[in-house]
């Protein structure tokens, strides 16, 4: 084994973490199911190693194994775990504790949950030092310093606060502070930025990067996001079905993926600003094997376009592609020749000059909570043409979801807002709308588990929609139902199943089918793929494109994934604090001249190419919609802040170029100029710390909690 | 010696009137025993000493009057008694329940005390006498008696008290007792210490109506207008110290009491919500005495070695009435059959653990002297019952509803009756109501008690059968639940009431007993004993079958 194990970058001492042929199994329903199948990897000192793979491939298990922290129903069945050369499995409970205190620490998803809600931040951080033997005062002192190190501007005040009073980003900083407090030799990050906004994600990643250089910590970075991987890691491993299928320097792997699976993954994501009208995304046929399922010699065989009978027979060795770049594939040398799963040609884009099918003017939505009014949407306007896709981006709290719900009439817009369907004004409340209007304007929700009634069969779910929206009955309905199922590539044999029995992708297809049951003119897609794995996401995106081409339906496509939005949209609107900051053709919006906010958003996103322009740091969190800043609502964070004018008067949404609007005091020319150079680096101000997270004030939640 | 006694006797016989002399003769002739002689004598107003002489000994044997008890009590201490909490407001005029009268009797006093053997003992009254036929009774009032507020008691107060009780507007609880006997305004104070009662009709047993047996008749100040529960005003040996509704009363010795001072320094009445609690109370040594307990609620006490139970006959009983004017009981054969189907032995020995006399379906309880014991006791006889039912054309079976109230053993009794009569093919459905509902307004037409086809009603102790003969059975009787209208009976009752001497009463009684056995409008299955429970370390308590408890002489034994 060690023969194939790559040597860590020239370091004499033992690697920070070494997994040797590690096998971990969970006991589920009485059966031991393998989760890690002989994983061997080693992370050198001061090295950052990324582990990528789709959900359930065993990433997290590997991470927790490195802390010898397995669930009651889990156990290491073979192999060994070495931290700084010490064998973890041989240690006593106390030694493990020691190790956790001193050597290894971990940061994982959902920072707010990771902090104790009833203990002040300060105490939680100080705890770590106290553990390491510092006495009280000293511990607090050092906690204070550490919080400073993670760039929390006003540590003193933060130390007095409770987790729920801080934003997710802030909490993640705190968690990181705790993790690095005792200067561990290994830091494990398990999807540390999943669920955070692009801008915040960017900051956290920067922070980690910086601290790592300062502390010289080795990183084990676990993510499903290749962009993040590219940004953060030097070396990476691709995990599939509990097995390490490819490993090598990040740039190398991205440039020359040598395992069909890696190739597939890279092809799934919309990269380099590809667009629906140029190429369709690739998908990986088949599906992830079940946990602990019996697999052929090569775990990927069943989904592999190159598979030959040898793959069933012989487990491929860890072939050395180049130095430190290995692939567990018999045909690693021609991995990239793997045929595309979806040969369907891209749909050419034709520009139609037609009346807008949907138009919104002066769209406002105000929530009332605890007496104070929250303006979730302020004077939003846009038009949607037939068969076109309008992408909608913005940080959480910008009002994306509220806009969607207002359009379809689930949370009625304020008096005076105008929503027109084919020029006919729509009642704000869906229950007041005519049947034809309702069926014309449908939505695909983010989470199919929530969107499909788990008690009903797929047949009933879609059937009911047909009955209600089209008044269809009997054989006619059955026929139509089958067509619909076919059109969303849903196997009719599964029509009797219940949602719980279907995979996420299938469920989303059902949700789409339901939305299309009434032959809608417009479908609002609220982050329809954010809950899905990349390979699945690709399939769904393709489906949406297809349907749009065939049914001439217009999309309002909401997503936080700029890549996806870019791929799907003809035009893009950027939302901030319930206001449209910029609206324009997809190809223009993401290149200068662009609205400073869009600029910042775009720069925050790590791209899979790793080729990233200078990131523009946004100051602080998005302000609470309850008390939006004066003047230009963005001025508090604007990297291109001009002066008092921004603070005092709110710019109107101007058409700066034909079809390209924005809300900024700058003119197009001015911006084109200034944006040639990155904005001056701004220090974090106290505003960030004191900025309320908005947590319960977040509009999309307000309309639930009221 | 002998002569001296004869001389005394003659002197007395010359002094006393006709009726009294008949009594002496009857005794001499052995028609009545000594005890009855003494009792009748007291009613007629003869002092115990006089009677002693006449009966041929210095004093009537006291030991016989009050039951043999443990050692005499030592002075001091706090004596604690438990009673079932008064059901309603504590107003002497209105009180109609045992708990209430027990409280009333602590500070309140009567003209005359009727002890457990129905002997009358002077209290507020020193002596009494009647005119030739018992139509007018004169009572001499004791002097030097004061109310607890200090004001002296005079004949005026006494007169006021009885006029109040006899006033239909006030609607006192005693009204029924005085109906046809004493009307409002007919009680007069002839001088500060003499009261004269002019009766509507002659009544040989009148003194009982002014005695503790008529428990509302405590003497109150003439100006009394309610609010007794604030003051507990009275002339008794105790003074109320504190009163907590629902919980109890504490008393201290009444310093200015005219009689002998109490043995114990303090006394405490604890109210119990119901009998089971009071049973646990005395067994858990929360109280020393239970004024009264029933077999149904206190069975545990009977067998308890740490408890001394005193028992004596009373006329408390249950009446099982049958509507004589309605199907199916309008046929007297059916009523007789029911009477014959009852298993009285089961009731007496089982339900009442032998703590009762057998009832013979008439108000003449064994405890009453006028009762004729020679009338044969009705026994269970299913065969005969069946014949009667057949004769009545009811062999196919009889259906009826039996209504009763949640009170002591009544629900149980109802079930036993239900079982017994089923042997004769009579099927009863039972309906058990709470007391309030059962009695309703106690007016015909608005009271399940008076309207039910068949019902079981509880009757408290009475010193004389008079009320029991009239109210529930006479044609105009206000409590005539059986709707029994029988002129012959009414006439007999009139005779009985008017009769002054025992002989006459007995003769009338016999006729009544036989008539009622024949008609059976109401069944009197048993007359249960009055049971008082005391812990072994106390003695001297005196209770009456009425439910009075006198603790002035009670205390702890060394």
């Amino acid at each position: 084994m060690s023969a194939t194990a790559p040597q860590p970058a020239a370091v004499e001492t033992a690697p920070a973490l070494e997994l040797r042929d590690l096998e971990v199994a969970y006991r589920v329903r009485g059966i031991w199911r393998e989760v890690l199948r002989g994983v061997t990897l080693s992370i050198g000192r001061n090295e950052s190693y990324g582990l990528v793979g789709e959900s359930g491939c065993g990433k997290s298990t590997a991470a927790f194994a490195a802390l010898r922290y397995l669930p009651r129903n889990g156990r290491v069945t073979r192999g060994s775990i070495l931290v700084d050369g010490q064998d973890l499995l041989g240690m006593s409970e106390n030694e493990v504790r020691e190790l956790r205190v001193k050597k290894v620490s971990m940061v994982y998803q959902n920072p707010t949950a990771a902090l104790n809600p009833s203990i002040r931040i300060g105490d939680q951080v100080a705890e770590v030092y106290a553990l390491a033997g510092a006495h009280d005062g000293e511990a607090r002192q050092r906690a204070h310093e550490m919080l400073g190190k993670v760039q929390i501007s006003d540590p003193a005040s933060v130390m007095r606060r409770y987790p729920h009073q801080l934003s997710g980003g802030m909490n993640q900083r705190v968690v990181i502070a705790m993790a690095l407090a005792t200067d561990p030799s290994l830091l494990i990050l398990d999807e540390p930025t999943t669920g955070l906004d692009a801008t915040v994600e960017g900051e956290v990643l920067d922070l980690v990067k910086m601290l790592r250089e300062e502390f010289g910590t080795s990183l084990l970075f676990i993510t499903h996001n290749l962009g993040v991987m590219a940004k953060m890691c030097e070396r990476m491993g691709v995990l599939y079905a509990g097995r390490l299928v490819e490993e090598g320097p990040v740039a190398e792997v991205f440039a020359r993926p040598s395992h069909p699976y890696t190739v597939g993954l890279l092809r799934c994501i919309p990269r380099g600003g590809v667009r629906k009208d140029r190429e369709t995304l690739d998908t990986i046929p088949g599906f992830l094997p079940q946990l602990g399922a019996d697999l052929p010699a090569c775990v990927f065989t069943d989904r592999c376009g190159l598979a030959e009978e040898i793959c069933h027979r012989e487990e491929p060795p860890f072939h050395r592609v180049t130095d430190g770049h290995c692939s567990r594939c018999h045909f690693y040398d021609r991995a990239q020749t793997v045929p595309r799963a979806t040969p369907a040609p891209p749909v050419p884009r034709e520009d139609r000059r037609v009346e807008p099918v949907l138009e919104a003017r002066g769209l406002r939505k105000t929530f009332h909570q605890e007496g104070n009014a929250i303006h979730a949407l302020a004077d939003v306007q846009f038009a949607l043409k037939e068969g076109e896709t309008l992408g909608l981006v913005g940080e959480s709290g910008s009002g994306k979801t509220t806009l969607a719900r207002s359009l379809i009439g689930l949370s009625p817009a304020d008096e005076g807002s105008v929503i027109e369907l084919d020029g006919a004004r729509l009642a704000p409340n869906v229950t007041k709308r005519k049947r034809d209007q309702v069926r014309a304007l449908q939505i695909v929700f983010q989470n199919p588990d929530s969107a499909l009634n788990r008690r009903f069969s797929i047949h009933r779910i879609i059937g009911r929609a047909l009955t209600m929206l089209k008044g269809e009955r009997g054989e006619q309905r059955e026929e139509h139902l089958r067509q619909l199922a076919h059109s969303v590539r849903f196997d009719v044999r599964l029509i009797g199943a219940r949602p719980a029995q279907l995979s996420g992708g299938l469920k989303q297809r059902v949700a789409i089918a339901r939305a299309f049951a009434g032959d809608p003119r417009i479908v609002v897609c609220d982050e329809p793929t954010s809950a899905l794995d990349v390979s699945v996401q690709a399939a769904i995106l393709n489906l949406l494109v297809e349907l749009q081409a065939s049914k001439k339906v217009a999309y309002l496509f909401i997503s936080h994934d700029l890549g996806v939005v870019r791929y799907l949209s003809d035009r893009i609107a950027v939302l901030y604090l319930g206001r449209v900051m910029e609206l324009g053709p997809a190809e223009h919006v993401f290149d200068p001249p662009q609205h400073p906010y869009t600029e910042a958003l775009g720069s925050a996103v790590p791209t899979a190419e790793g080729t990233e322009r200078e990131r523009i740091r946004l100051v602080g969190e998005i302000p609470s919609a309850a008390s939006p800043p004066s003047g230009c609502v963005f001025h508090t964070r604007c990297p291109r802040y001009i002066g008092d004018i921004c603070r005092d008067e709110e710019p109107a949404l101007r058409e700066v170029e034909p079809g390209h609007f924005w809300r900024c005091h700058y003119s197009a020319e001015e911006l084109r100029e200034v944006q040639k150079t990155p904005p001056p680096e701004q220090p974090l101000t106290a505003r960030e710390a004191s900025e309320p997270t908005g947590g319960n004030l977040r509009p999309s939640e307000v309309d639930r909690s009221t | 010696m002998m002569d001296e006694r004869h001389a005394q006797v003659d002197a007395i016989r010359r002094r006393i009137g006709e009726v009294e002399n008949d009594l002496v003769d009857a005794h001499a002739a052995g028609q009545i025993d000594r005890r009855e002689f003494v009792r009748r004598g007291t009613v007629l107003g003869l002092s115990l000493s006089t009677l002693g002489v006449l009966a041929g000994c210095a004093q009537p044997n006291v030991a016989q009057v009050s039951p043999p008890q443990t050692k005499p009590p030592q002075p001091g201490g706090t004596i604690r008694a438990g009673i079932v909490a008064p059901a309603a407001a504590l107003d002497p005029v209105m009180i109609s329940d045992e708990g209430g009268l027990a409280v009333l009797g602590q500070t309140g006093q009567y003209l005359v005390w009727s002890d457990k053997y129905l002997n009358l003992r002077p209290v507020i009254a020193e002596s009494w006498a009647h005119d030739h036929n018992g139509g007018v009774w004169t009572f001499k009032i004791r002097q030097g008696v004061h109310f607890s507020d200090g004001t002296p008691l005079t004949a005026e107060d006494v007169a006021a008290t009885f006029n109040r009780l006899a006033d239909p507007v006030v609607g006192s609880n005693a009204l029924s007792n005085f109906a046809g006997v004493l009307s409002k305004g007919n009680t007069k104070a002839t001088d500060p210490y003499t009261v004269q009662f002019t009766l509507d009709a002659p009544n040989g047993n009148f003194p009982y109506l002014v005695s503790s047996d008529n428990y509302n008749a405590v003497i109150l100040p003439k100006d009394y207008h309610g609010g007794w529960d604030k003051t507990f005003i009275g002339t008794g040996p105790w003074k109320m110290q504190s009163f907590t509704p629902e919980q109890g009363v504490t008393y201290t010795r009444n310093a200015q009491y005219w009689g002998p001072k109490t043995v114990a320094d303090r006394m405490q009445l604890t109210f119990y919500p119901e009998e089971q609690a009071q049973t646990l109370g005395i067994q858990g040594n929360q109280v020393d005495i239970l004024a009264h307990y029933s077999v149904s609620g206190g069975r545990a006490l009977i067998t308890d070695p740490t408890i001394r139970t005193t028992q004596y006959r009373s006329s408390s009983h249950r009446q099982i009435h049958m509507r004589t004017d309605k199907e199916p009981f309008n046929d007297k054969r059916v009523r007789q059959a029911v009477g014959l189907l009852l298993d009285r032995r089961g009731m007496v020995e089982g339900l009442l653990a032998t703590k009762s006399d057998y009832g013979n379906d008439s108000p003449f309880a064994p405890v009453f002297r006028s009762t004729d014991p020679s009338v044969p006791q009705r026994q269970q006889n299913v065969a005969q019952a069946k014949q009667l039912l057949e004769a009545a054309g009811r062999s196919s079976g009889v259906r009826a509803q039996l209504t009763t109230l949640t009170h002591f053993e009544l629900p149980d009794l109802a079930q036993v009756v239900q079982n017994d009569v089923s042997d004769g093919g009579i099927s009863l459905s039972i309906s058990i109501l709470d007391p309030g509902t059962y009695y309703g307004s106690s007016k015909f037409g608005t009271s399940p008690w008076l309207d039910s086809t068949m019902g079981i009603t509880d009757y408290g102790h009475r010193g004389v059968p008079n009320l029991l003969l009239t109210a529930p059975l006479t044609s105009k009787g206000p409590w005539n639940a059986a709707h029994f209208k029988n002129p012959a009976y009414d006439k007999l009752v009139a005779q009985y009431v008017a009769a002054l001497d025992l002989g006459a009463q007995r003769t009338a009684a016999r006729k009544i007993q036989l008539l009622l056995l024949d008609e059976t409008p109401v069944m009197f299955p048993y007359y249960y004993y009055f049971l008082t429970a005391a812990r072994l370390n106390v003695s001297g308590e005196e209770t009456t079958a009425m439910g009075h408890i006198d603790l002035s002489r009670a205390g702890f034994v060394a």
Partner: protein, 308 residues
């Protein structure tokens, strides 16, 4: 089964296997049936459930065939034989009216096992409807109804029951009615809570987006999803119903004599304990205890089965 020391992250991997596109997740198409089977398996492996089921089954049998099993007629009085200690003739002795305690205990199961379930059912139905309405409409409807619910809940069940029974006069029907009504608010609360979560699920929004009528949304879409909690609540309440009815009978306001109701038997005889007559009280007491415990063990098992 997750507990201390289990990293949630990987327990997910362990618990519900991951799913990828175009594929049925284990255990395959007959999944629902399997789920039911597994739920049953869970139940059958839960000792508490089994114990509860056995006890309850026993009493149900008694309720149905009591009269046949009972050695004597539970209503037949024989005062002469009153309060006989347990003997070969009367295994549980006799009560104050000489009735066979064993027979009365056995037959006594009937009343309570008819009254309690009916009452609970009534309460569950009313409560579910109320809860659905409150939870779905929220706003004023919820506030008004919520206040009323609170008002009722502010007074202990026994007191409310007592009050109403005095008002309406004790009878089996009134007991059922009163308990049912008294339980309604409690159940309504639970259901409301469940509905509040449900209504946030987008399938409700989806229903509104095809012009479904509100009643359909309530009973067609949401109700099926809250049936689990409702069932659990039902079993829990059943326990309370028995508890409450027994208490009311014990206070003399529940099932009326001569019915051989357990609470009533205790009420009629507890004063006798101190006299050494423990059998007319102990056995009915044990009966109540066993039944209530049985039902609660049962519901405990069920709720556990539904929690996973």
């Amino acid at each position: 089964m997750s507990s201390f020391g289990e990293p949630i992250g990987s327990s997910v991997t362990a618990g519900e296997p991951p799913v990828a596109d175009d594929q049925l997740s284990v255990p395959g198409p007959e999944d629902t049936r399997v789920m039911r089977r597994e739920r049953m398996a869970v139940l059958l492996h839960s000792k508490t459930f089994i114990a509860g089921a056995v006890i309850l089954a026993f009493w149900i049998v008694c309720a149905i065939f009591g009269k046949l099993i009972a050695p004597d007629d539970p209503l037949l009085t024989d005062p002469i034989k009153a309060l006989q200690a347990p003997s070969s003739a009367h295994l549980f002795g006799t009560d104050t009216l000489g009735r066979d305690v064993l027979s009365r205990v056995l037959v006594g199961a009937r009343d309570i096992l008819i009254v309690a379930p009916l009452a609970t059912l009534l309460g569950t139905v009313l409560g579910t409807v109320l809860g659905l309405v409150m939870g779905y409409f929220r706003g004023p409807t919820d506030d008004v109804l919520g206040r009323i619910v609170d008002a009722v809940l502010a007074v202990p069940v026994v007191i409310v029951g007592l009050l109403s029974l005095v008002a309406l006069g004790p009878s089996t029907i009134t007991v059922i009615f009163v308990i049912g009504v008294v339980f309604t608010p409690v159940i309504a609360r639970t259901v409301r809570a469940a509905v509040l979560t449900e209504r946030e699920y987008e399938y409700v929004a989806a229903a509104r987006l095809r012009n479904e009528r509100t009643p359909y949304i309530l009973f067609g879409e949401i109700l099926p999803n809250v049936l689990g909690p409702v069932l659990v609540e039902f079993t829990v309440r059943l326990g309370y119903a028995i508890f409450t009815i027994a208490t009311l009978s014990f206070l003399g306001f529940g099932i009326q004599p001569p019915a051989p109701d357990w609470g009533l038997q205790i009420y009629q005889h507890y004063g006798l304990i101190s006299g050494g007559y423990w059998w007319p009280v102990l056995f009915p007491a044990l009966a109540i205890a066993s039944l209530v415990i049985g039902v609660n063990l049962l519901s405990d098992g069920i709720s556990q089965a539904f929690e996973r």
